[in-house]
């Protein structure tokens, strides 16, 4: 009994160590005084953190990644919320087909999505690089948007809005006045999940980025192909703390983890 009661927490401890360890190394390396990634770090300095802000391409690609993550997720939600509503509240003909089609991008490897878009959408229709990336990121986030919003719609009893409709409200009015306020948390959770997915996305963007237009992770890989110093670790730490801050705030105010 006591062996068991020790075994489970010990496993948790080891698993957490395994999951968090690399993160600690990255943070430590950000403050390194040496020329390469090393642990324990050689000395302490802020120069790599400061260097992040001086690399010009990081600024441009950070802007691009922010645009794709915010814009793409917003677009995915605008498509995904009505679809989720139809799936959860209506007798939709071919509901399974719709569900499969919108969630397909999760199963297909990103590198294939990127390649297919490049060869059969971007080149034949002469789509610019930025719109192409935007379309790809929207498609990529759509499954998450539908999944999370559907989950929060399913948790909400549908008789409230049915009652509202019976009492003379239009269906649209019922949606905005009754449903939306109740699934706001779910929508924000979907937004955060989509944002993180899009922001860290590599394989899709690998083929789609082009002259002058690059997402931040692609830029980080390109940077490391040439220079192997701790500035990428520093950048990753900064981004991680930014994400943690956002998620922490979301959890604090909205109970983010209920929806994921």
């Amino acid at each position: 009994m006591s062996a068991r009661s020790l075994f489970i927490p010990l496993t948790l401890f080891l698993v957490l160590g395994f999951l968090i360890g690399p993160f600690l190394i990255i943070v430590a390396a950000s403050f390194s005084g040496g020329e390469t990634l090393a642990f324990p770090p050689q000395g302490f300095s802020l120069r790599w953190i400061l260097k992040v802000f001086t690399v010009e391409s990081f600024r441009a690609s950070f802007g691009m990644s922010m645009f794709l993550a915010i814009g793409g997720t917003a677009a995915a939600l605008m498509l995904g919320i009505p679809a989720s509503y139809a799936l959860s509240r209506y007798k939709l003909p071919g509901a399974e087909i719709v569900r499969t089609v919108v969630s397909a991008p999760i199963i297909v490897p990103g590198i294939i999505v990127g390649l297919a878009l490049l060869r059969y959408i971007v080149v034949p229709f002469q789509v610019g690089i930025t719109p192409a990336l935007f379309l790809a990121h929207t498609a990529l986030v759509l499954p998450y948007a539908v999944r999370v919003v559907s989950a929060s719609l399913d948790n909400l009893r549908s008789d409230i809005e049915e009652a509202a409709v019976l009492l003379g409200s239009s269906r649209l009015g019922a949606f905005f006045r009754v449903v939306m306020p109740n699934i706001r948390g779910g929508i924000l959770s979907a937004f955060i999940l989509g944002f993180v997915t899009s922001f860290n996305q590599v394989p899709v963007s690998l083929f789609l980025s082009g002259p002058g237009v690059r997402t931040l992770p692609i830029d980080m890989i390109a940077y490391m192909e040439i220079v192997f110093d701790p500035s990428v670790a520093a950048l990753s730490s900064l981004l991680a703390f930014l994400s943690i801050g956002i998620v922490f705030a979301a959890e604090r105010f909205l109970g983010f983890s209920r929806y994921v």
Partner: protein, 340 residues
């Protein structure tokens, strides 16, 4: 919340649209390396001269060539710098045009070997690099390319993958060392294959080697001179080998893409890059060895570059046509002997 998102999305769209509507732009495709320095020494000064905007695509030679091919019908890039062999490949695939050298005022200042490296008038060389072996001089002694495969060394080296620019030249030199230098590189590939279990990795990105060297994962690796500088910053005795078979290397060239709408601007940019002033500045920062013979360098700098027409001529380069005609075969043999 949604309104805020919508508004910020729209604002971003607008600013991007505005940026795209700017005057004339020149799109160039270059190696991803030393971009901060290139921006300072080449791109920014050129933008001031031409009053135009430079858009830069970066990546390795093969990947960028694949993108040129994919966008053949609607070329986005106006001028590219690639390896000699890739320039020939691009020319054979109909991706590039003849370079109008009459419009390059600095053309007569560059070494003869760089004027038309592939003999087809489609490219102009702008830099050379030697490829040799960077090694820990306290751990090993390198006198021949074959020394790398010695039993006591093999488990401490990284070898360039056959798909990289350094791969075939390194194999070619190993072939010379083994006394079997056929164009199919069969003997050296076989020799590497016999040691594949011991060799630490077949590297694709040379920047990784600095990390591996620092962690004592490896003691030696064949590298191009352009990736040498970071090794000198490590707190270790690392030397540049001078094997008895000589050094190999490569030349990087400039090409203009077929269907480019900014031909004049592209040529103007190439001329600027080839000028004595620009080439000197790039050399002094140890970025690119010059192809312009008017460039004068101090010994300290010259020793860390591939400097001078004699040095350039002494490099044992694989002719582009040989590289191109055998590339598929090399990869096939490599996959059979080394890949699995």
């Amino acid at each position: 919340m949604k309104k805020v998102i919508l508004a910020s999305g729209a604002a971003l769209m607008l600013t991007m649209g505005a940026a795209q509507a700017q005057e004339k732009t020149l799109t160039i495709s270059v190696y991803a390396f030393a971009q901060d320095e290139f921006k300072q020494l080449v791109y920014d000064p050129f933008e001031k001269i031409c009053g135009c905007k430079l858009v830069v695509e970066t990546g390795n030679s093969v990947e960028r060539l694949a993108k040129l091919e994919a966008n053949k019908a609607n070329p986005m890039v106006d001028m590219a710098v690639v390896s000699m062999a890739d320039a020939l490949a691009a020319s054979r695939a109909g991706l590039i045009d003849k370079v109008d050298t009459a419009k390059l005022s600095n053309f007569n200042k560059i070494y003869d070997v760089a004027k038309d490296p592939n003999g087809d008038g489609m490219s102009v060389g702008y830099t050379f690099y030697a490829t040799s072996i960077a090694y820990r001089s306290d751990k090993m002694k390198i006198e021949s390319w074959a020394d790398l495969l010695k039993p006591e060394y093999a488990s401490h080296i990284a070898w360039p993958n056959v798909t990289t620019n350094q791969g075939p030249p390194a194999l070619y030199m190993l072939g010379l060392a083994l006394g079997k230098d056929t164009p199919d590189l069969a003997a050296p590939i076989e020799a590497v294959g016999e040691k594949k279990g011991e060799i630490v990795t077949f590297y694709e990105k040379s920047s990784q080697l600095v990390q591996l060297m620092q962690q004592e994962e490896i003691w030696a690796a064949p590298i191009g001179r352009f990736s040498w500088a970071p090794f000198t910053k490590l707190d270790m005795p690392i030397a540049w080998a001078n094997p008895k078979e000589g050094q190999t290397g490569g030349m990087n060239v400039m090409v203009v893409t077929k269907g480019s709408k900014n031909r004049e601007l592209a040529l103007q940019f190439m001329d600027f890059w080839l000028s004595t002033d620009t080439q000197t500045k790039l050399a002094e920062k140890l970025i690119d060895s010059p192809a312009n013979k008017e460039v004068k360098l101090s010994d300290a700098i010259a020793n860390n570059l591939t400097y001078g027409e004699e040095t350039a001529k002494s490099l044992k380069l694989i002719p582009s046509a040989v590289a191109l005609d055998n590339r598929a075969g090399w990869v096939k043999t490599w996959n059979e002997k080394v890949g699995q």
